[in-house]
Amino acid sequence: MSAFTEKLLARAMAFAALFVLFASDIALAQGKGHLEVTTIVQKEILVENEDGDSEKQLVVAETVIPGERVVYTIVFENVGDAAAENVVITNPISESLTYVAGSASNDSMKVEFSVDDGKTFGLASELRMVDNGIERPATTNDYTHVRWVMQNELEVGAKGSASFAAVLQ
């Protein structure tokens, strides 16, 4: 290989490396920000354990039919270089699903719900619905969104998760 060719190749590689770096910068700036968030869905089934009692078990949601219960788990990680403050995870609840009471409880986050398509949020005990001019307490069937409000900062490199269960209508 001639010296010239060698030089050219080295330049080309440097350019390519630069381009890759540039491309990943764009992705970071446009999409990921400083947090990485994934959601998975699993199916909750009851299985009989050795003592003959039924026990909840999470399995891959290969088949889901009406009446079955699915569990969504949202995992988030601070992949940036600064602590994230006031982290709020908002999850719409599909019309096909009914939230399972109490399933979103989380030790480190305050759990709130919306019954107005995410416009306002409140604690489960505070929400009200109006049916034909008559006010009543909201039920899990009314929930359109669930959200978790993190009480502490999410430090750099820290991970957290939130989950809730819902029944397919």
Partner: protein, 386 residues
Amino acid sequence: MKTVRRKLGLLVRLSMTAAALLMGQQAMALGTDPGVDVDNTALVDYEVNGVGQTQVPSTTASFVVDRRVDFTVTRMGIALTPTTLGALAVDSPVAGNYLDFYVTNLSNGDLDFNLLFTQLASGFGEIYPPGPGTADTDVDMNNVRIRVSSAIDPAGSPGTGPEPLLADDAYIDNLPEDRSIRVRLYADTPAALANTDVAGLSLDASAADPTGTVALPGANLLESGIWNQGTVDNVFADNGNDNAESDVDGFDVTAPDLTVAKAASIVAPGTRALPGERIEYLITIDNTGGADAATNISIGDLIDDDVTFVPDAYNGGSSNIVFDQGLAAESFCNADDAGDTDGDGCSISLAPITLTIAGRNAAGDAIDVAAGAIVTVRFQVEIPAL
């Protein structure tokens, strides 16, 4: 009930095709339709150093709603259906000789159904305890036909749709979820069966692919065994998880059941059967069967050679056999010829003396014994004088 506003919000929140959305909306109260794509995406808001950052969406977790295959077959009868020998299935003008069922779709979407029937074997058990129907003498019907009503039952009122007619289809096409449709087993009754025979039949249904052609149901649905999160799987949720449901019902055969008794009595004035005295024989024919009359009854009676037949015992000396059918007037005939030359149904042959009694009533009709009725026949013999 969820508000209309929420349903509008669904357009934004769910990623599904417009067609799937409409189907899902219609069926929402009854179970989300198979094929609906249920997506979930969380949104995360946060601040860095007090400055709000761009909202971060999570990855999307999705699953496709599978087909929950569940249905029932229910007989509509509350007792065995009576049938008579040789009865044929008819739907007009008066329907008869059939068993009614309805099939209810408890799945989360439309289903077709393939239908079959089974002639039950002896000893299939009681259909309607207590009473007849224990089926120890189970028999088969002829020409069984499955017919499905032309329209589904009104919502919430299974078994109240139009009657299935002989011209209707033999399978169920696109039965919506939570709805039912009537199915009828028409059958013809064999001509030769015994009274209280039971003909048990079961209607057997299996769900089929509703997306097939309109003219015929598809093949029976199968569970693939290879589940897939992104496609519609069939999940058998019927009794036994086998995509096979059935119910049984039966016909109760009512046929004439004749008992015949013969008694003798000495005709007054004598009290003992002495030579020269007359003895009257009384033949009693009792039809203890069901609804059918026994028709064209013929009685053969061999008379002891030691006695002689009295040729003029009744009807002012002009008849020798009398019938009592429980009518106002008795009927008579004469067994006075060898070949029934007078055509009254009664004849006699000698050596040995044999009576053939197939009498006619006053109108010239054959003697019949209605169900539950008794017909008596009397004639006299004389003990020859020594």
